[in-house]
């Protein structure tokens, strides 16, 4: 391979990206060296096993990916703003809608939610860390490396261009030659390892690490939604692992799973992809439901209405989410019986979701509602998500789906559920738990501007797309004719898209502004909360979270304590040495070997792939022989941290 094939050349947009990447990297390296931050970076972040820090790193990565995916989206909207635009050519457009979809689902939505779960869930259940802190670091670093591997594709070797669903035979060697599609396969594979480990880790954490007295039916709703999500992750992600591996075999080793030769079945890929893909939809929406439940309950000053009904409906969804996958390809033509069955299961799964909408409405009913920013996002969610849900039921009807399939109607539908559901939740959760992570709130005034601009922009962007879809505009086309008459609505949609982009920039500005000017919280209960994460004395919990593990007596235990004026004060007698896990650099090194292995396989340099895998196994063996039982935090240190003066 020649160097000019190795690096992507010829496109001014990409040269621009090259320059900005080089400048940013140089800037970071300069900063780290000049301010002597390398050691700090290594000891505080790269080797940490603290769930809060890992959570913050997840969220920072997710915000970066939101930027990347957002830029992709705006490039697409620019191209589509007017008919027959020449801004992007068809190949470039294909690459961009592929990376947009993949990044937003796998590298933005999931890590954002998993990041918030990391920060919040151990605190909510009164634990000092997760069940396997070391494994948690492995999870983060494999996700991060997977994301990086996927992201360098656009400057080295070329991006995948077969869509985030990568249907065969479009994704085959014949139709998608070169390393692009391999980046998709390997990047997702490596990140998927991290996700599966997170699933196991948090399932065991929630089941086994709860504070005394916190029975299953006293757990906060966000913890419950995380529990159900983890179950779905554990059983859905292996399906993706296999599907990706099989396609990798097809592309690299000449097997015939999904190829047109050797009697492979291209649609078997679609079948496996959506066997994972539909549960994946619930993986990214259930934690969102959990967050909205917490926020609505907090800002209505009421216990969540129908707590148990909500739990049962989520458990039902965990099973049901595996029974609806065919609705993603009704048009494959599996016949009336198959399509009818999956049509019915799809409509049925809407019921437990609908139940929750009423839970939230009745929670607010007669509550003393405070319209803080997280609450605004939650209210915006209810309204907009219902639009997405109702159009989803329209799509669920197999016969009607033949009309909607592959049109902008579908595009609009899934953006209404994924943005109004997942993204609104990420923003709401970020604002809500920001003081827990950083010790101060994001500015409320700017935050409300962000909310209104984003929500209005979102509707301007996507509502017209329903009508474009009904008018026959297919998805994934890079341009359209003047005569089609789709020009005006597309222009409107593009304007809305840029409004969302501006809102994102203001959100980032708000982080800077609040870092500079926000009032620092003096205690742990920033929002007058109900659950245990708000019960820590300091705004940001110390690394061991709780000096004394709380004993839980009811649902919303902390709220009840506050109501009865019985919040326990820490005394010197409560302090005992705390056992904590040691930091480790192994996860980071292991993930680096994964990067070498993945990069080698992307370019089909098998020696490099083998070398990387040997490195991975080496780190596994090293870890197996390492007997590190952690360390104890001394009483003096705890007393000092907690500022107890008898």
């Amino acid at each position: 391979m020649k160097w000019d094939e190795f690096f992507v050349t010829g496109d001014p947009l990409i040269y621009g990206a090259d320059v900005s990447i080089a400048l940013t990297t140089a800037g970071i390296l300069f900063y780290l060296t000049y301010f002597k931050k390398w050691k700090w970076l290594w000891t505080e972040w790269l080797t940490t096993v603290d769930h809060k820090k890992l959570g913050i790193m997840y969220i920072v990565s997710a915000v970066l990916m939101l930027f990347r995916g957002g830029v992709d989206a705006l490039l697409m909207r620019t191209q589509l703003a007017v008919p027959e635009a020449k801004f992007l050519d068809s190949q470039h457009y294909n690459e961009i809608f592929t990376t947009h979809g993949t990044i937003m689902i796998i590298f933005m939505a999931m890590p954002f939610l998993i990041g918030l779960i990391n920060v919040v869930v151990p605190l909510q259940i009164g634990a000092r860390d997760v069940a396997y802190p070391y494994l948690n670091a492995v999870s983060f670093w494999t996700f991060f490396i997977g994301a990086m591997l996927f992201n360098i594709s656009f400057i080295i070797g070329g991006s995948p261009s077969a869509g985030w669903t990568s249907y065969m035979p479009l994704a085959s060697n014949e139709m998608s030659p070169g390393p692009g599609q391999n980046y998709y396969l390997l990047g997702l594979q490596i990140a998927g390892i991290g996700t599966l480990l997170t699933g196991i880790n948090f399932l065991v954490t929630i089941l086994k690490m709860r504070a005394p007295g916190m029975t299953l039916f006293r757990m906060p709703m966000f913890t419950w939604s995380s529990l159900v999500t983890m179950v779905i992750i554990i059983f859905a992600f292996p399906i993706l692992t296999v599907a990706l591996a099989l396609m990798t075999f097809d592309r690299l080793f000449g097997s015939h799973f999904f190829t047109l030769q050797g009697e492979g079945m291209d649609m078997l890929w679609a079948n496996l992809f959506w066997l994972w893909g539909h549960p994946e939809v619930y993986i990214v929406i259930l934690p969102a439901f959990g967050m909205f439940s917490e926020i609505i309950s907090t800002f209505s000053r009421k216990t969540l209405f129908g707590y148990k009904a909500m739990i049962w409906s989520m458990l039902l969804i965990a099973g049901y989410s595996f029974l609806v996958w065919v609705h993603h390809f009704f048009t494959m033509g599996s016949g009336a019986v198959v399509n009818s069955v999956f049509s019915i299961t799809t409509m049925a799964i809407g019921i437990p979701t609908g139940v929750k909408i009423f839970n939230w409405l009745f929670t607010m009913y007669r509550g003393k509602i405070e319209f803080a920013t997280p609450m605004l996002w939650s209210l915006g969610f209810i309204v907009n998500f219902v639009i997405g849900g109702v159009t989803g039921v329209m799509l669920a009807m197999a016969a009607a789906d033949y009309q909607y399939h592959n049109t902008y109607f579908l595009v609009s539908h899934f953006h209404y559920v994924l943005i109004a559901g997942t993204v609104f939740a990420c923003f709401a959760g970020l604002v809500y738990w920001y003081p827990k992570m950083f010790g101060y709130k994001l500015n409320e005034r700017i935050g409300k501007w962000v909310f209104w601009l984003f929500t209005i922009g979102f509707n301007i962007c996507f509502f017209p797309q329903y009508f474009l879809g009904l008018d026959g505009m297919p998805r994934r086309v890079y341009t359209y004719s003047e005569e089609s008459g789709w020009g005006p609505l597309n222009m409107v949609s593009t304007i809305g898209g840029f409004m969302m982009g501006v809102a994102f920039l203001i959100l980032v500005y708000n982080m800077y502004y609040s870092f500079r000017y926000a009032k620092r919280e003096t205690h742990g209960d920033a929002w007058n909360g109900r659950t245990l994460e708000w019960s820590t004395p300091s705004a940001m919990p110390p690394f061991y979270n709780f000096a004394k593990i709380p004993v839980v007596k009811s649902l919303d235990h902390f709220w009840r304590q506050k109501q009865e004026g019985k919040v326990e004060k820490l005394t010197i007698k409560d302090i005992k040495p705390i056992h904590m896990p040691s930091n480790s650099g192994v996860p980071f090194i292991m993930a680096s070997f994964f990067f070498i292995a993945g990069f080698g396989m992307v370019f089909e340099w098998m020696w490099m792939g083998a070398l990387g895998l040997i490195g991975v196994f080496g780190t596994l063996i090293y870890r197996s022989f390492e007997y590190d039982d952690g360390y104890y935090v001394s009483e003096e240190e705890i007393i000092k941290t907690e500022k107890i003066s008898n």
Partner: protein, 133 residues
Amino acid sequence: MANKSAATEHGGFPWKHLIGFVLSIVLTLFALWIALGTDLSVTWILIIIFGFAFLQAALQLLMFMHVTENSRKGGFSGRIQIGNVLFGAFVAIVIVIGSVWVMSAGHAKHDKHDAPKTENQDGSHESEEHGSH
């Protein structure tokens, strides 16, 4: 009770393992005989040999893997483990039967061109082009 079995296993002859082993050998040979040594219809053979397979899986889980074992008194790890395996079995059955069903029904059924016809021996589908379901 699961705890008790873990405790009493400390000494003595491992009867449980031996019984499990003998049963697994017997089930294997029996399945082989059903499959190759009898004249049952294909459907019955499949039902019986898969029944045996699930039986043998249960045997391994109970006799060798101590799936019901609780890690401590009053704990519910045993129940989590069983629930986990059962949900796994549910998902596995959905994946396997669902995929086979979806990929062989309707249009997909006629997607094969030159492969020998092995299922559907009932003769009503002379033409691969016009399946009635």
